[in-house]
Symmetry: C2
Subunit: 469 residues, 2 copies
Amino acid sequence: MSFTIQNALILVESGYETVAVQVVDNCISAIDPNLEPSGTVIDAKDKLLLPGFVNAHTHSSEMWQRGIIPPLPLELWIAELYDFTPLDTEQIYLSALGTAVETLLSGGTSVVDHLVLIPGQELETIAAAVRAYQEIGIRAFIGPLIQDESLTAGMPAGDTGIEHAAYIRSTQATLDLMKSAIEQFHDPEKGVNILLAPTGIQLCSDALFQGCIELSDRYNLCRHAHLLETPAQKQLAKEKYGYSAVEHLKQIGYLSPRTSLAHCVWLEESDIKIMAETGSTVVHNPLSNLRLGSGIAPILKYRQAGVNVSFGCDGAASNDGQDLLEAIKIGSILHNITDLDYRHWITPRQSVEMASLGGAKGLNATDEMGSLSVGKKADFVLYDLTSLSLLPRTDPIGLLVLGRPTNAVDSVWVNGKQIVAEGKVTTIDVDNLRRELFDRSEGPSKRQSPMVSEIESHYRQVMKLPGYS
Amino acid sequence: MSFTIQNALILVESGYETVAVQVVDNCISAIDPNLEPSGTVIDAKDKLLLPGFVNAHTHSSEMWQRGIIPPLPLELWIAELYDFTPLDTEQIYLSALGTAVETLLSGGTSVVDHLVLIPGQELETIAAAVRAYQEIGIRAFIGPLIQDESLTAGMPAGDTGIEHAAYIRSTQATLDLMKSAIEQFHDPEKGVNILLAPTGIQLCSDALFQGCIELSDRYNLCRHAHLLETPAQKQLAKEKYGYSAVEHLKQIGYLSPRTSLAHCVWLEESDIKIMAETGSTVVHNPLSNLRLGSGIAPILKYRQAGVNVSFGCDGAASNDGQDLLEAIKIGSILHNITDLDYRHWITPRQSVEMASLGGAKGLNATDEMGSLSVGKKADFVLYDLTSLSLLPRTDPIGLLVLGRPTNAVDSVWVNGKQIVAEGKVTTIDVDNLRRELFDRSEGPSKRQSPMVSEIESHYRQVMKLPGYS
């Protein structure tokens, strides 16, 4: 199978160029202004062609609770999330589809799904997500969300000496589960990759991290986790280790060039140095960091230290959408207020590179994706430069990144297969997805989270907020 | 003319209610769950009805440069903006249309256009914007952007003792111009309101402010200005007055319940008190404040002090779009990182009130707009709750404010007239607008701003940035 995209505007070092791009057998075989077309010919006049972006951190099933959790910090927000996680595998399937649709229509061709598992139906959960991603055709990196400590252990104890219940599953059982997941689902050729993805230091023992390292080494898989998302987690790390969480992860060997870490809001200068030395990737989730009041990740410092940074939407209950262009925009301009010297600010071209090549790097996949390069997989996106939101014609990349692109994605190819055409996903029935999402939800309700009521006063106490009792 | 919207979901104190809303002669005449329909009947099943939002600060003609100005702080950004402002009145007309379309399709029914005037064609500029807004049917508040000091005066001098050229027009000539503009264009019944809108303390003499106060009193018009957008402006105010800009504006009598001030990023506690005492409104432009690295306006403090706050997109060259829902989202969640106590965070319902009633209050128009209330003008918006971006059905307001609504606006009425139906503007030909914007622009170019080169080293010097020469 081969095709040629003609008259496409692409980014080059010196500005822009109009070229033809040829795809043979799922890969880019040629890029040239004067290319003899072969195979199907697609006219990309007045369209911009970019490598696909990576939605480098999300939790697809949170879609079922987007918009409903009130303004709360992570530690209370997650309590409410868990209280109302009503999942069945069909819901998993539908929210994975929804996450994929929104990612594709905002320029993403890959998604990293830190997938919440239904207790007792763990492999079925993964199977449901795999089914969704394969049907729609997005490149999927699924990191089953595992932990071996119970949720309340994720909050600093302060001087309250709280005891935590044991987690529902032993560390070894979880590692066995991961081994089964890898053997059953990891299939890069079919666009499905399994990641080792312990939740983070707040809910995982060293034994779990070490088991994940071993599996990641044995099967050559990437590693993922949350890292220092909130002030409370920083405090917890101090309680748990007596020193920096980053230093600890380095010591146990979790950090590496195939490790990506979501959030990284509360790192110190010395931690940043470790991130650079180990070649680890920071996944920046600006919208969730604002929504949950987590803080501003020191992204300009990461970039100055040579740490690779990519963008994620984070789960839709803390964002509360899956529009990658929104995450890229806010994740770029947010940092201008952290450094008076505008020469350090992220330019739109740098944002695009972070979202594409940066995303690929964090998944140890720069050989295959992340740029428009001969030999790489054909994962790319055509943007319609006649969309009102991309007019007037000024600087297409500037307007794509800094503007509010709406109905701007015209076509998407993943692994050489076109899965979006004329702004519509062609591989699944989106109207049917909407009906399912509508029918399986009930509209406004007055719910109250018992767990939030239970832990709020402890949270206010350890965070030294007024009025706790 | 009368019509009835049936089965509309609306916000009420206790949650949501499904009602019918009746409109007679441009005004809401009844809201009731059990209303006998009269006139044309519109079915709003699975739709949310909200009062129209106010895009409370923008500069429509900046649309011509959106996406193209590199990451720069305001003082340098504006130099590049002015260098490439190529305006003719037809461009003014088109960018006013574009601004209106994007505002309407993101829930706005009113726009405050702090309108850049073409030198020598000032009244023609205003006429072009008025024509656009009347054609499309959005409620317009036009504040011709006036100043009486030249652009370089807007930067602190530091110890450089720079002299500034005289401005192109005398203070008196500018005030005469405003008088003509008011007499010629101010026509609230036809949806066009003129504001007195000196640029701000950085480019205006006391005489200009005082002349504006007098005109505003004589014609009963609202007042608008920029206020302390950047650290440089704070420094400038100290050089100019020796004390706070807010205190100065109070002393000369500019602050009032019909005064709205854009940005307000660098106010002190004592300034905030003055804003509250004088009943002045803060217009929050979060996206431009991030894009230009201006800082985070202390919005939670304003709210705690009882200062009215509304939202603006700011001009499209500093945002770089005109999506009001994006400004509302970011302008709400941004502040969660400024206060650990989540009980102070803005809730989605509060955001909606700020965007509607807060906007109306800043325009001294709460009698006529800002809420769904019997007797007020029929300025309202129907959102389609079956849009993928508003699914699954959770909390409609939470998802509208915190999510990424896309193609969510179904219908818009302004002054009782429907101007958006099924997601499309019905009063103008949007495809033709796109063609005009396309044809009148040229695509990627390598431009360099002479004025930025000229003033950059002075800027770096007064802001104490490294590497100036």
